[in-house]
Amino acid sequence: MRARRLLVFLASASLLVLFLTREPPRDIGRRIDFLRRYASQRLEVRRLGGTSTDFNRRYFILLEWARRRLPAKTPGLAVFPDAEIPTRGQYLTVYHFAPLPTEVAPMKVPSGWLALIQGTRRPEGWRVVAELPYGALLEPAP
């Protein structure tokens, strides 16, 4: 019985060490630092500083500017990043604008939708609704 208890103690202690050493202490410091720096900021700024936007923070700045400038009855939004974005960037885009129907780089922009273009490109047949940091919001030209 004593041997069994000793084995339990050793195995449990191993688990404890495994769990405690799994997370580098610098990660804990980084999290505390993040909270200290960002907790006083608005929700959008906290997201901007976080993991979901680290693939291209300028892209998220454009999304947030566009979200604030979208006309009230916009039926949908087609977003065109200036470079290929990862899948999670597409999810973030759709999530950020929800409940507005949103597509990332569609082959064809559905009728009546606005377009959000990252970068300086301004395609023909589209009229600028608002120039924004890192891009512009456009609507089909009449």
Binding site: M1, L10, L16, R31, F34, R42, R46, G49, Y91
Partner: protein, 462 residues
């Protein structure tokens, strides 16, 4: 901290208020009294979350906009129904004092508090960000909240296929319910849900183990190790369904074991509640219910024949009701990432290859890096004594684990066929296995009771 702290406090207040309502409701399915006190906190919190989530579709159904009036109305109705049921559940007798000298509470309280604080930090660092939160759980919750309905386009729009229309809506309804009560969508403050679920899980784990005879040190030791398990309580899992699922799996398994042993009159009601909640949270919830049903037949066949029909009904009916309600709401939505036609004899050869590929990658990329963990768990299992109440939990975990291991072999990705099973093993296997942690912790620790409890040891030697 102008906006963040008040928002977190508000969401925590909402969750704790409904957790309190769930705690008041708990005597309908859990005997009152000291032996059940810790479990009542966990079950009560789960019931409170169910009230927050369920009030959303009920509100839509009865054309009441979800929010405080509707939520309080439905909570009041649930409490009234619970009050009627509570008479069937007599107060539990207090357990005689343990013979073992209990370890000082700080010895285990400290690592438990540390585990909770660390997960709290991981969960609350930034707005919820994991892919599946943005693409599935959070997106659906945000749409339901913003539109005040479950939008049809979730099921019809091919551009939203990534949001997995076939998944149940329990967690999105919970997010939407919190947002309706808060009055806005705050995906950072809502993350507090997850550390609270962790705390509820620890209460259920330690409480159930204590009630089933484990010495306090052992029960709290198990809770401490689970609290520190970063594989489950990670920043990445915050926002996903795996942490809620891990609590619900523990609730289902412990109530199932209680029902087989007929520990109290409320056990079948707890089984029914857990079955309903787990089926509403993830698709595999239905599988767990079926696995418990099978185990019930195999393990309870000889000794508890009379308990079988009631237990089967308690397991099956609520889960089927949830599935049926989803069918009514959204129609039939096939599983998107899996193709079970590989079960046809003509495709067995291909299935064999996929299984080999799945197991090889799982062994090299998931099991091998985790060998110290697996070795420690294996030692604890071998050292323990067969204990029916706990072995059932491990049997359920083993069935779930086998299913999680085999399932990637059926994985298909029409857009990227090159992904196949390997993609699922790499992205999902570790995550899905981690949800089994509370169940494994309860099962393994229950088996160790006999070698740590002096009464059990004394009985052994007599």
């Amino acid at each position: 901290m102008s906006e963040f702290v008040p928002s977190v406090a508000a969401v925590a207040g909402i969750l704790l208020a409904f957790g309190f309502a769930g705690w008041l409701l708990a005597p309908a399915f859990l005997p009152r009294g000291a032996p059940f006190a810790a479990e009542r906190l966990g079950w009560g919190f789960a019931a409170g979350l169910a009230l927050v989530a369920l009030s959303v579709p009920l509100g839509f159904l009865f054309r009441l906009r979800p929010g405080w009036p509707a939520h309080l109305l439905f909570a009041g109705l649930a409490l009234a129904a619970g009050w009627l049921l509570r008479r069937r559940n007599p107060r539990a007798e207090s357990r005689p004092e343990a013979i073992d000298r209990p370890a000082p509470i700080w010895l285990w309280g400290l690592p438990i508090a540390m585990g909770c604080a660390l997960f709290g930090l991981r969960a609350m660092t930034e707005p919820m960000w994991s892919n599946d939160f943005l693409a599935i759980w959070g997106l659906k919750g945000k749409l339901i909240f913003a539109l005040g309905e479950v939008p049809e386009r979730l099921y019809r729009d091919p551009d939203l296929a990534f949001s997995h229309p076939e998944y149940p809506l329990g967690l999105p309804f919970l997010y939407a319910g919190i947002a309706f009560l808060l009055g806005r969508w705050d995906d950072h403050a809502m993350a507090i849900l997850f550390p609270l679920i962790q705390a509820a899980t620890l209460f259920v784990l330690a409480g159930w183990l204590r009630r089933r005879g484990a010495p306090r040190s052992l029960a709290l030791g198990a809770a401490a190790l689970l609290a520190l398990d970063e594989r489950l309580y990670s920043a990445f899992h915050t926002g996903l369904a795996d942490i809620p699922l891990s609590l619900l799996l523990l609730l289902l398994a412990t109530s199932f074991s209680d029902a087989l042993d007929r520990t109290d009159a409320g056990a079948p009601v707890r089984v029914a509640l857990a079955s309903c909640l787990i089926a509403a949270t993830k698709n595999e919830g239905l599988f767990f219910v079926a696995a418990a049903l099978l185990l019930g037949f195999l393990l309870g066949r000889e000794t508890r024949r009379r308990a079988q029909p009631a237990l089967s009904v308690a397991l099956l009916l609520p889960a089927l009701a949830v599935v049926f309600a989803h069918r009514l709401w959204r129609g039939s939505v096939p599983l998107k990432d899996f193709d079970f036609r590989y079960l046809q004899p003509s495709l067995w050869g291909e299935l064999g290859g996929r299984l080999r590929e799945t197991f090889a990658v799982a062994l090299h990329e998931v099991a091998r890096p985790a060998w110290p963990l697996l070795a420690a768990i294996t030692i604890l299992f071998i050292v323990g004594r067969p204990t029916p109440s706990s072995d059932r939990l491990l049997a359920l975990a083993a069935i779930a684990g086998a299913a999680y291991l085999i399932l990637p072999a059926f994985g298909i990705f029409p857009a990227s066929p090159e992904f196949g099973p390997i993609f699922l093993v790499r992205t999902a296997l570790g995550r899905t296995f981690s949800a089994l942690s509370p169940l494994v912790a309860a099962g393994i620790t229950g088996r160790l009771t006999a070698i740590f409890d002096r009464r059990a040891r004394a009985e052994d030697t007599n």
